[in-house]
């Protein structure tokens, strides 16, 4: 209940999605990734849902909408609207998109100071803390994998989207004839991404001490190398 209103399941799910997206934008900022484009956000959401069980977290979605521009989540689109209108995220380079059905707009999204404060508050619960740790580790891994060779502080922004498009679950979903991009056929299925992460985890832990974030970084490093030869 919120006040005298009952909290419906769909409202609860909307709040869950809102928290995930706000955390993802915060994590990207904290990992030193510049403002996020709409397509990058949806791609990162897809990869986060395909890999969250590696951190013991249930993904919020089992599939994404297939578009010529990559994976797309209507819920993320609506969430971005909520976050922008509530001042937690700001949008720049806004451009209306001709497709009324799905994309609707393009833009670059950046956390605001209020968004940062809200994100800190939401991290105070156990689930919030675990969820943020996962998304931060994912983004730290992206930053590490996409650092250019000659300067680890330079972020190779252009190739990041190509790297994310090599995600094992995304490749497998693209190869299927389904209308949507399937992450988990059945709830709890081991995704190709999770299989890949588990194999890297087993390989690395046999050789040295590593944290899960190192596995996420290694996974994205291998995707980056695949994107170079693709």
């Amino acid at each position: 209940m919120i006040g005298d209103k009952p909290l419906f399941k769909k409202d609860y799910e909307k709040l869950q999605f809102l928290r995930w997206v706000l955390f993802l934008i915060t994590a990207a900022e904290a990992a030193g990734l510049p403002g996020m484009s709409r397509s990058r956000l949806h791609a990162l959401l897809f990869v986060s849902f395909a890999s969250s069980r590696f951190y013991g977290l249930r993904p919020l979605r089992q599939r994404a909408q297939r578009t010529p521009h990559g994976p797309y989540y209507r819920a993320a689109h609506l969430t971005l609207g909520h976050l922008v209108f509530s001042g937690l995220v700001e949008v720049s380079e806004f451009k209306a998109h001709p497709s009324p059905k799905d994309l609707q707009f393009e833009g670059t999204f950046k956390l605001t100071k209020d968004g940062l404060m809200m994100s800190r508050l939401l991290r105070q619960t156990g689930t919030g803390e675990r969820m943020y740790k996962f998304l931060l580790d994912l983004c730290l891994g992206t930053a590490r994998a996409m650092a250019t060779h000659d300067s680890e502080a330079e972020f190779d922004d252009e190739n990041t989207d190509q790297m994310l498009a090599q995600d094992l679950t995304f490749r497998a979903a693209l190869a299927r004839s389904n209308k949507s991009l399937i992450i988990e056929e059945q709830v709890g299925d081991v995704t190709p991404t999770l299989k890949g992460l588990n194999s890297i985890d087993a390989y690395m832990r046999e050789r040295s001490f590593v944290n899960s974030k190192d596995v996420l970084a290694a996974y994205q490093t291998l995707l980056r190398d695949r994107s170079k030869v693709a």
């Binding site: 915060t26 900022e29 904290a30 990992a31 030193g32 990734l33 950046k110 956390l111 605001t112 100071k113 968004g115 940062l116 105070q124 619960t125 156990g126 689930t127 730290l140 930053a143 590490r144 300067s151 680890e152 502080a153 330079e154 972020f155 094992l168 497998a172 190709p192 299989k195 890949g196 588990n198 194999s199 890297i200 390989y203 690395m204 050789r207 040295s208 001490f209 590593v210 944290n211 899960s212 974030k213 190192d214 970084a217 290694a218 490093t221 291998l222 190398d225």
Partner: protein
């Protein structure tokens, strides 16, 4: 798709040279980045045979979770932020605001002395800000962790040496360094780390041992060893929190052996004043088991470090034989308690 097909052996083989990223809390990682940057700068100068920088020259590193969004202090007190890069190698002095992996570095003041840095900290930063003052000419760094009392800290800052020498690390050298760490940081209730571990309850006029004392010790020891060991990588497992209270540190470095590397592992345990003798004994035994289980094929020694905050330091006769039978080096470091009759531990449930 099978597990073997996810990545080829060739692809996985490319990960052999990948080192673990800096570990610990975001704040811990920030301090390690500070040490690393200063060390590289000092090493470069030494290679070029340049004279040491003046004693007064300073870099003030300020941690901000998202510096582009919020510096964490009043922007009017500094110049307009200028983006700089870690690898430029030009940061020799000034104030710089950085995120945890130093991908974002905003320089907000060019010239800085150690006195300026302390003045700035005193007047413009709050207790909740994590920062480090690198005294580059003195090869030292002063570390302020979030929520350390700023006035107390300014009077007696936590200062670590930034060593650039190539030390040959052995378990014996590490044991000696642990002794020195204990002397400076934990031997009395006013020592550098210990003073932040006890909280005073004014209503009941008692000191209490704070929550998660092992993590407190780990954080101080991590930055201390990271400053001391230039060639070694000091690592903590981030995921083992709340799993049987495991709090570890490993010190990995290159070796001439077959695998080309060797490591020493430390398991840290604090014996609490309010626990029963049996509970403390069991906690120590658990520390031995965990140190033993933590080692891998490259481990040369596994230490269990017991920081003894018990009121009465009674003998624990089972511990040493148990450690010996597990080939674990047992070290017990006495911690002095605040002077009062009753010492109670603080128990607080974690939010879920």
């Amino acid at each position: 798709m099978t597990v073997q097909e996810a990545f080829t052996d060739n692809e996985l083989g490319q990960l052999d040279d990948v080192d673990a990223a800096k570990s610990g809390s975001a704040e811990d990682q920030f301090f390690q980045e500070c040490t690393s940057l200063v060390r590289i700068w000092l090493q470069t100068r030494e290679l070029r045979k340049e004279p040491a920088a003046p004693d007064a020259q300073a870099i003030l590193f300020i941690y901000a979770e998202a510096p582009m969004v919020d510096l964490g202090f009043d922007p009017a007190t500094v110049d307009a932020p200028k983006k700089i890069r870690k690898k430029l190698g030009t940061l020799a002095q000034g104030i710089v605001v950085c995120n945890q992996n130093f991908k974002v570095m905003l320089k907000v003041r060019e010239l800085l002395t150690v006195e300026d840095a302390c003045d700035f900290a005193e007047n413009c930063l709050s207790t909740s800000v994590s920062f480090a003052i690198a005294k580059v000419g003195q090869y030292k760094m002063q570390i302020h962790r979030a929520f350390q009392d700023l006035d107390e800290w300014l009077d007696d800052p936590d200062e670590i040496p930034v060593n650039i020498d190539d030390i040959h690390l052995t378990p014996e050298v590490i044991a000696d360094d642990l002794e020195r760490f204990h002397d400076a940081y934990l031997s009395t209730h006013l020592a550098r780390a210990a003073r932040h571990m006890w909280t005073y309850d004014e209503k009941k006029s008692v000191h209490r041992l704070g929550e998660r004392p092992e993590e407190h010790v780990q954080s101080f020891l991590l930055s201390h060893l990271d400053g001391l060991y230039g060639r070694a990588s000091v690592f903590v497992h981030e995921e083992v929190k709340n799993k049987g209270g495991r709090t570890d540190i490993s010190i990995a470095r290159p070796s001439l052996g077959k695998s080309g590397k060797v490591n020493t592992v430390l398991e840290l345990k604090v014996l609490a004043p309010t626990n029963s003798p049996k509970a403390n004994n069991d906690w120590g035994m658990k520390g031995v088991e965990q140190a033993d289980s933590y080692r891998n094929a490259d481990t040369d020694a596994a230490f269990t470090c017991l920081f003894d905050a018990r009121k009465e330091k009674l003998e624990m006769p089972d511990l040493a034989p148990f450690a010996k039978s597990n080939d674990v080096v047992l070290k017990i470091y006495s911690m002095g308690l605040p002077p009062e009759a009753v010492v109670k531990s603080k128990v607080k449930a974690k939010a879920t």
